[in-house]
């Protein structure tokens, strides 16, 4: 089972909470919206990703497992 982050850019409001919680995979662009890496998450990154998803005020960020 592998985990990765997915963003719904329509729902995203650019609050930036996610980038604070998992800077390893999410950077903010010059307009204040997150650039989300879809690379596989391993180890503690899975926990950070879960936190970031839970903290997203618009529910735009999700953790996918395939």
């Amino acid at each position: 089972m592998s985990f990765h982050l997915v963003l719904n850019p329509i729902a995203c409001d650019g609050r930036g909470t996610c980038a604070e919680l998992i800077g390893e995979r999410i950077q903010m662009d010059d307009w204040g919206y997150p650039i989300v890496s879809t690379a596989e998450l391993k180890g503690e990154l899975v926990d950070y990703a879960e936190e970031a998803c839970a903290a997203c005020p618009t529910g735009a960020l999700a953790l996918k497992h395939t």
């Binding site: 997915v6 850019p9 329509i10 650039i35």
Partner: protein, 400 residues
């Protein structure tokens, strides 16, 4: 004297234009056995002709695998301002398109087909309604409904089309919404471009070997050419030969645009060396004359694209406005030393993001402009007077 290189023209679709259904049926009878149609389409290497060039058989299989009775959507929304091939097909060979939709529907066991036509394209609407009426009179099946769609750049994106049909909202849906599983009325939905469906008819009637032996595609040739219009060219033939047939005087040209505003600028040499293939996207080939300014045209198109944003994704709303504004400032000579680096930085940030292909399309267009018009960008930025015509050249779709 101009000689026409016949290897650069094809007439499979072009020669399939008939006055009425009876004549069409003489050349394109309904095949008796279409059990293996998806396999035949796969063997034909057919790809979508709307711009994304996705393998058609894979799309059919994905819809077939989903639960529920699917719906077929004929995408005739053709949002690229320079493209005219889909309207051309709808107007000159509606039965070729409707047949393809019917065969695709049979292959995935769909019962209904929704034909989407641009709301301001009265000729296509008339042609399609007449063709459907002919089929009814001839006692043929009538699975067709016609929908008029807004003439916007992104309203033809598959999920935007589904959204329009479902809720009269012509904006793309999030990528997490898999329309091949739950699209129109929640049903598995196949959205195929008009030309793609016409190719399916050729394949259903003539088979994969015949099809592959000389696969061709339609191209909208425009700009500074003697005979602009719709051409059909074989895959693998040279773009130089096509441009020659269309009467382009490349010695007086500044650049070639391929794939429309989701595509790329090419230098004349790059253009000459390209061949007809899937990288031509929606099939637009446009010649920019030396009298036009590449920086100005790029600024105009980017501004227009920013205005075509569905205003859903924050980075598209803001990012496209930024690159359009900065390119405009470069054109007017009011941008600073770092403006080009900002454009490159923003292109990198926007690439691949958003719910639809608009941001990626805009930055592909921008990056190619920075490459092809590199010295023009630099001269404009320094405020040197533009030596070219001030007259705008590229068409930008309906004003709203």
């Amino acid at each position: 004297m101009t000689t026409i290189d016949v290897s650069s023209v094809a007439n499979r679709l072009m020669s399939s234009r008939f006055a009425d259904l009876a004549e069409h049926r003489r050349y394109f009878p309904v095949p008796t056995n279409m059990k293996r149609l998806i396999d035949v389409i796969e063997d034909s290497d057919l790809t979508g002709k709307g711009g994304a060039s996705f393998p058609t058989a894979s799309k059919l299989r994905a819809v077939l695998k989903a639960n529920g009775t699917p719906i077929v959507v004929v995408n005739g929304s053709e949002g690229e301002p320079v493209s005219g091939k889909d309207a051309f097909l709808l107007q000159s060979s509606p039965h070729l398109v409707l047949d393809g939709a019917m065969y695709a529907a049979a292959a995935i066991r769909a019962k209904r087909i929704i034909v989407c036509i641009k709301e301001n394209d009265g000729l296509s609407l008339q042609s399609v309604t007449t063709a459907i009426a002919e089929r009814k009179r001839a006692g043929e099946a009538n699975p067709f409904d016609v929908e008029l769609v807004p003439d916007r750049f992104i309203s033809g994106e598959a999920s935007a089309l589904v959204n329009w049909i479902n809720s009269r909202n012509p904006r793309p849906l999030p990528k997490t919404r898999r329309i091949w599983e739950g699209g129109v009325r929640g049903r598995p939905t196949l959205v195929d471009n008009v030309e793609t469906l016409a190719h399916i008819t050729l394949i259903a009637n003539h088979g994969a070997n015949w099809y592959r032996s000389g696969a061709s595609r339609l191209l909208s040739v425009a700009g500074d050419v003697h005979s602009p219009g719709i051409y059909e060219a074989p895959y693998g033939s040279g773009l130089d030969a096509l441009l020659d047939v269309a009467g382009a005087r490349l010695q007086h040209a500044r650049a070639v645009l391929v794939g429309g505003y989701f595509g790329s600028w090419l230098t004349i040499d790059e253009g000459r060396q390209r061949v007809v293939d899937d990288t031509l996207g929606c099939g637009v080939v446009l010649v920019l004359p030396k009298a036009a300014c590449g920086v100005r045209e790029t600024a105009r198109v980017l501004k227009w694209m920013a205005g075509e944003s569905a205003q859903q994704c924050g980075m598209c709303v803001n990012g496209l406005a930024s690159i359009a504004e900065m390119t405009s400032r470069v054109y007017f000579g009011t941008a600073n030393d770092e403006s080009i680096s900002w454009l490159v930085r923003w292109a990198n940030q926007l690439d691949g993001r958003g719910a639809c292909g608009l941001p990626t399309g805009a930055v592909t267009f921008l990056r190619s402009a920075l490459h092809v018009f590199e010295s023009d960008f630099e001269n404009h930025r320094k405020g040197q007077p533009c030596t070219m015509s001030e007259r705008p050249f590229l068409p930008l779709g309906a004003r709203r």
